[in-house]
Chain length 289, copies 4
Amino acid sequence: MESLFKTIVIIGKYASGSDSTGIQSQLLELAQHLTQKKINIFIESKTHHSGKFEAFKSIDLEDVGKEADLAIVVGGDGTMLGVARALVNFDIPLIGINQGRFGFLADLNTSNMLESIDEIFVGSSYKDKRMLLNSKIFRGSKCIHESLALNDVVVRSGSRLIELKVSINGRFLHKQRSDGLVITTPTGTTAYALSAGGPILHPELEAISIVPISPHTLSNRPIAVSSKSVIEIDVVDMDESYLSVDGQLKVPLELHDRVEIKSAEKMITLLHPKDYCYFEMLRKKLNWG
Amino acid sequence: MESLFKTIVIIGKYASGSDSTGIQSQLLELAQHLTQKKINIFIESKTHHSGKFEAFKSIDLEDVGKEADLAIVVGGDGTMLGVARALVNFDIPLIGINQGRFGFLADLNTSNMLESIDEIFVGSSYKDKRMLLNSKIFRGSKCIHESLALNDVVVRSGSRLIELKVSINGRFLHKQRSDGLVITTPTGTTAYALSAGGPILHPELEAISIVPISPHTLSNRPIAVSSKSVIEIDVVDMDESYLSVDGQLKVPLELHDRVEIKSAEKMITLLHPKDYCYFEMLRKKLNWG
Amino acid sequence: MESLFKTIVIIGKYASGSDSTGIQSQLLELAQHLTQKKINIFIESKTHHSGKFEAFKSIDLEDVGKEADLAIVVGGDGTMLGVARALVNFDIPLIGINQGRFGFLADLNTSNMLESIDEIFVGSSYKDKRMLLNSKIFRGSKCIHESLALNDVVVRSGSRLIELKVSINGRFLHKQRSDGLVITTPTGTTAYALSAGGPILHPELEAISIVPISPHTLSNRPIAVSSKSVIEIDVVDMDESYLSVDGQLKVPLELHDRVEIKSAEKMITLLHPKDYCYFEMLRKKLNWG
Amino acid sequence: MESLFKTIVIIGKYASGSDSTGIQSQLLELAQHLTQKKINIFIESKTHHSGKFEAFKSIDLEDVGKEADLAIVVGGDGTMLGVARALVNFDIPLIGINQGRFGFLADLNTSNMLESIDEIFVGSSYKDKRMLLNSKIFRGSKCIHESLALNDVVVRSGSRLIELKVSINGRFLHKQRSDGLVITTPTGTTAYALSAGGPILHPELEAISIVPISPHTLSNRPIAVSSKSVIEIDVVDMDESYLSVDGQLKVPLELHDRVEIKSAEKMITLLHPKDYCYFEMLRKKLNWG
């Protein structure tokens, strides 16, 4: 049976600026495997630069959208986050292969990757659509920053308590004094938001979770709202604070900055083997008996 | 302007078996107010029996569905829960009037009730649809109990830790040892589930929240899933346990009983004044600043 | 070198009513090992009755105090709790041998038990003194129950929320509505209290921790007080409630019962190998990295 | 009856760098009241500079130890923290007068201050001794910072997760990845540590509480150890982190810095009216019904 995907880009964790040396052999094994299947392949340029990939074409991450119909990512959840943000507008699905212990997003591992990929190629896959968040920072009336997040957008203090005024769809929710606020997709609920005391939201829930970080008022509890909501956060008191996107971008905030967060227009598709089970992943990652 | 509602039943907290004497004058004031508006009114029979309502027709709670097109409940959240379960299949909306401090569900209070009701009667209202849960207990292959819940269904221990096996849509979630498990509608997330450490879910979220009670495994955290889910709970180890519905019904469980929980087919409609705000209610009830 | 202990009783988990068959060979191995060392040994009578111990003297648990100067317990933490309560007034130290995975209290396991015991016998041991709680139930002016607890005393609801009035040394702490209250020794802080959200207290802290179970008021947080404190709990509102001692005794409570809890006069001594480390035990039991 | 205190210094919140204008009249009223009682008074120099105190002697905070036998602080808990750190080595007790809502430490308010002070002056007082923490930062073998804290010492991240290795009395506790760690006195357990999920420790407990901030491993729970403990924290992985002392001093940390924390040699004494009750203060500040 022929692969459903004709042009595939392989992206190593080098794409996220990491300088790992451990995945060269997997990348090569994967590239050769795909070549044998007559698939047209590219290697993302930083990954290409990291090793002996002269036999393969190189492509910059920002050009992937024009060429490929699938991206295979070899790295960890962090690499997946960056690639998802970069590719979400191009309708290119992702397969994640984890080096080391498996991740929440990168669910294949190097021992079973070829077999699993072959299955997915012939259509035996679980299509897992995940929402992203769009966040904008307004300083006065001007938008000074815009970005996408697959996990979370965090407004947080750089030192002491900050005070945030939160509104949802124009209706006042609360003013809260805390170390900050995590605004998370269902995907992000198993990441930082979980450490901050937030609930797990199943990825198929169309919801955004708002999780306070060490709130001064003990009854300030996590709250989940519809993914159609627009969340506005005004920084009303602070010494120092910043916006953190997927834990990977950090943008300093000033007093009276306003952050607007809503679901992004497009979703990213993760491809898993047919027998993928979200709950099994939770059990393994969270050591549930 | 004429009232949208022609036949209204007034239900006092006596309907839920309570023996309050404090609300006689409000009930009478309300009944007279509606009579003046040429509305056909009934008084729920236990409420009717509680005081001097000879001038008004009496009706049993189970017959309300045949006659009335609106129910006005004077009591607290507990009374609202019982009436909602009783009326959900009849498409009769509810207005809740709280005696004492205002509730999560009964949001009008006796000081502003007539004014607010008049507004609602002429269509200036906020229609707030709330899902209920349907729960069944299977003993072997036989269904030995079925009920509806507006807040929550709790499987809980009567003494020591119990062990529950939880599946969602036929997929295994986990086995957990704990004091029990709260399965809650968004409405119920501000009730018992909140005390047990669960998140708040906005009522418009189509979700069911699963909150462990004092779980033995510390990473067993609350998880919210789609309201289309079917949740199965097998009692795999126990000394003593029971099912609790809205904290109002209590059904003893036996070892190997299986509880099946899903969203009920019908929703109940709460009518609020036009300017009702869910977030304002949270702020007041949870003392947020 | 001669053993510091001349007369030792061996107690299997049968003493706590358990009907395990898995520890016969360990018990026998242990008894023979001690006999070879010319130690005078007894087998606790229920344990004696459980297998082929005709060659050894039998002794009832309540008589152990008259004869033995050490008790070796083969079972789990549950067995240790029961034996500690039974022996605390006799100044007999305990060694705990766990079958299966190791426990918080029974820290030796069957693979290294003989070696560790030999070390302890010649004085190379860590003496770990643990406080117990004394709890009394007063109905009117009459004390209707008194017991000791090594882990915890729990006043808890049998169904709905109960309301408890708590005083410490005669000073009012709070009235709280909850599923109940855990009063725990430092030893008990890694047991049920931890599931209920309480902190870990190091065993050398002279403290009692008070942990609310699913409290209605979200700011009702765990509080630790001096072990010299007398804690009084009045059951001011309930449908059904009971006192639980170490999760092993269960005493029904009535409305207006008063529970008085303070540290017991005597402490129990656990003997561990010299290199015992409490923190290592925490790391292993709680899967810290 | 004569005052037990002959020389008293009055310290306004100006001492902590605050530029409040609201407490001038209270300060003056207080100074005049003390003068009438023939007490020798000083006004702390920054406070003196803030208003019309020409009639009174000025004294720098660092010289208070040589002259005064009591300090009366008019401000909030923040001012109390700073003054306690400055005066702890001089055995000068503190009285705290709160402007606005009363605090955890500054428990008198301006409406009852004169009356309460008069009582305390004649010996009718509750002496409330509070421990402080001494913290040192070692860079290599060199101590680059040393300070005292009445509430807490926090090692925390300036951006992403940091990894800390914690030892107690030279024994390894754990490595933890988190936003940081709060090391707190009993006094500090009602401050930041409470927001981070820590327990309340009664001030008379000789304990130090260690509270993780948003730990990655969900079983990393707060732990309290003896106040005789020496706690060592090694910063083993970080992007950016700092030490925060009472939320008032902030010292940047570098990778492999080692923080050593133990109880300070001296305690500070707070003087309260005779009928002071710690639990009453908790009830009021935490809104326990």
